[in-house]
């Protein structure tokens, strides 16, 4: 008996078993998508997409599902979040890459690891117990509602900061280090090198960070459900309570009504599209047209 012969037999069986694992994984992940498409299929026949996206008239009982206020609240919180998370992450990323010594760099890695490990629900508790009361005293209780999209967005910004900092660090590492050295050699100060060479060079990458951070913020649910408030409100004022798409899913999800699957598929399509857009920005190299 040649050992290779039995080995080959087992090998082809084994290869099939392994392939079956891959097929099963693929099937399970696509099953989820199929399930939600079936769930929201009946709905799209009855209501127009335009009405859903642009009308703020939310009366599920009479069949009018205008989701503008939910979508607006989601966008508003995500925008507040990136408004301070992205610049903060850029500063933090610059500090880690250009200023920090090895020991302090190591320490920052640990701190960011811890911040990543903290679950969203704990950030929500923090928002309710610290950020909200603080803002209440700063702005006055009659101007700021107890639940509001401002503190939701601020805490959401803290929540996504570890993620955006990791992205920014990758972008900065990818930059052409020769340009940094060249600028320093020409006598530019560190600040000038960063502001006039490093950051412009990294601009497309930073743009992709903005898109990815926005998408991540858009999909966060538990902080929204705890802090942003319940019930739709068509407003642009971040001091008022307004329910986001994800907040609605948390509050009403288990009821299994039509709108739940609709919001589910909208979020799904939106995140996939935005992530693809972010990837596209990230792949564009600066200065390519010049060369």
């Amino acid at each position: 008996m040649i050992p290779g012969a039995s080995g080959r037999f087992r090998s082809s069986t084994g290869a099939w078993v392994l392939r079956a694992g891959a097929i099963l994984t693929t099937a399970l992940l696509s099953l989820m998508i199929v399930a939600v498409v079936i769930g929201s299929r009946g709905f799209f026949g009855r209501v127009s997409l335009v009405h859903f996206l642009f009308s703020a008239e939310w009366r599920p009982a009479s069949g009018s599902l205008g989701a503008r206020s939910f979508i607006g609240a989601s966008m508003r919180t995500a925008f507040i979040a990136i408004l301070w998370a992205v610049p903060g992450s850029v500063a933090l990323g610059l500090y880690i890459s250009d200023y920090a010594r090895d020991t302090s760099r190591q320490r920052y890695r640990v701190i960011l690891d811890i911040l990543t490990a903290i679950p969203a629900v704990v950030y929500g508790v923090f928002a309710l117990m610290f950020v909200n009361p603080l803002l209440q005293t700063l702005l006055g209780p009659d101007r700021l509602q107890p639940f509001n999209t401002l503190s939701a967005g601020l805490v959401l910004g803290v929540f996504i900061t570890p993620y955006t900092t990791a992205l920014v660090s990758t972008v900065l590492r990818k930059g052409r280090s020769g340009m940094r050295t060249a600028a320093m050699a020409l006598g530019a100060t560190r600040a000038e090198t960063i502001l006039r060479v490093v950051l412009p060079d990294a601009l497309p990458g930073l743009l992709s960070v903005v898109v990815l951070a926005f998408t991540r913020a858009l999909g966060e649910s538990i902080i929204m459900g705890m802090v942003a408030g319940s019930g739709p409100r068509a407003t642009a004022n971040p001091l008022l309570a307004a329910e986001t798409m994800t907040g609605f899913l948390l509050r009403r999800g288990s009821g299994g009504e039509d709108a739940v699957f609709l919001f589910g598929s909208v979020l799904f399509v939106l995140t996939v599209l935005l992530y693809l857009l972010g990837d596209w920005f990230g792949r564009r190299r600066p200065g390519k047209e010049l060369r």
Partner: protein
């Protein structure tokens, strides 16, 4: 000359200001972390456990939620870890084992990469749609129980597990597979008998790390439908259950201050669990890497 000197001084000043600004910005996350932990500690110590709250604490004490968390993670892993392992073995050397079906490789890669980024709450909606359908066909399956929640968590973990395991399989020193090929072993034999045992330790550490990330997950379970009150740990997969993060969510949104104190305390307990899991994973991984260095 004086103008030149002024100009240099201005540039130096700008440099110093920029450095200070970056330094201050970099301190914000540290400060926030400290304030967050302090808030939780202060709030949980000041928790005023009124009689109503104490009754709730007595009935649904943390043990119920902790047991729920443990069982949903453990059975979620039992569902998805074997599938992820087989898929990762298939994927780890795509040019060899999976070269015959490039289409499957493409679909698999795209799905896994995208699946990691889809918001968790969307998975909850997916699972709800799925289980509502299944329940209509076979009512015995139920919707809001431990078994279904485990399947849901398993599917959320699946892409994470596949990516982690694939990486760990690739990190096994090349000498190991090369030596077994030299002795005439087949690809499957090399993967299953040599590479897999060599990567097992690192995979164990990776599973702990993923478990630490998943133990804080609340939103998909809330969408699937978490009960607001459960009096005992789950005894079977058909039972309703509650997990630590879901418990925190439900207590934190109540207006009574006693519940908020309990939410803060439970948050600390949850953070401690996550920290322990992370430290264990780190120690394990470091030991594996050190042993591997010794082999070289």
């Amino acid at each position: 000359m004086a103008a030149y000197r002024r100009r240099i001084q201005a540039r130096r000043r700008q440099d110093r200001l920029f450095r200070i600004a970056v330094r201050i910005a970099s301190l914000i996350p540290v400060l926030l972390l400290l304030v967050m932990i302090l808030t939780l500690v202060v709030r949980s110590m000041a928790a005023d456990l009124g009689s109503e709250a104490r009754r709730a604490l007595h009935l649904t004490g943390l043990a119920t939620a902790a047991a729920g968390s443990f069982w949903v993670i453990a059975s979620g892993l039992a569902v998805s870890a074997p599938i992820a392992l087989v898929a990762a073995l298939w994927m780890a050397h795509p040019t060899r084992l999976s070269r015959k079906d490039p289409l499957l490789v493409g679909v698999f890669r795209t799905l896994v990469r995208q699946a990691v980024r889809i918001p968790n709450v969307v998975y909850g909606v997916f699972a709800l749609a799925l289980f509502l359908r299944l329940n209509a066909l076979a009512p015995a399956l139920g919707i809001r129980n431990l078994g279904n929640a485990s399947i849901l968590l398993g599917i959320i973990m699946l892409p994470n597990l596949v990516l982690m395991m694939e990486q760990e399989l690739k990190d096994v020193p090349d000498g190991i597979d090369e030596a077994s090929f030299a002795l005439g072993a087949s690809w499957v034999a090399v993967m299953v008998r040599q590479v897999l045992p060599a990567a097992a330790g690192a995979m164990g550490a990776g599973i702990l790390r993923i478990a630490a990330r998943m133990i804080g997950l609340a939103s998909p379970f809330i969408v699937l439908g978490a009960p607001s009150f459960v009096s005992a740990p789950p005894a079977g997969f058909g039972d309703r259950f509650i997990s630590l993060p879901v418990q925190i969510y439900q207590w934190a949104v109540r207006p009574e201050s006693a519940y908020r104190g309990m939410a803060a305390f439970t948050s600390l307990v949850l953070l401690l669990c996550i920290l322990l899991l992370d430290v264990a994973a780190d120690t394990w991984k470091r030991r594996v890497v050190r042993r591997r260095e010794g082999l070289r």
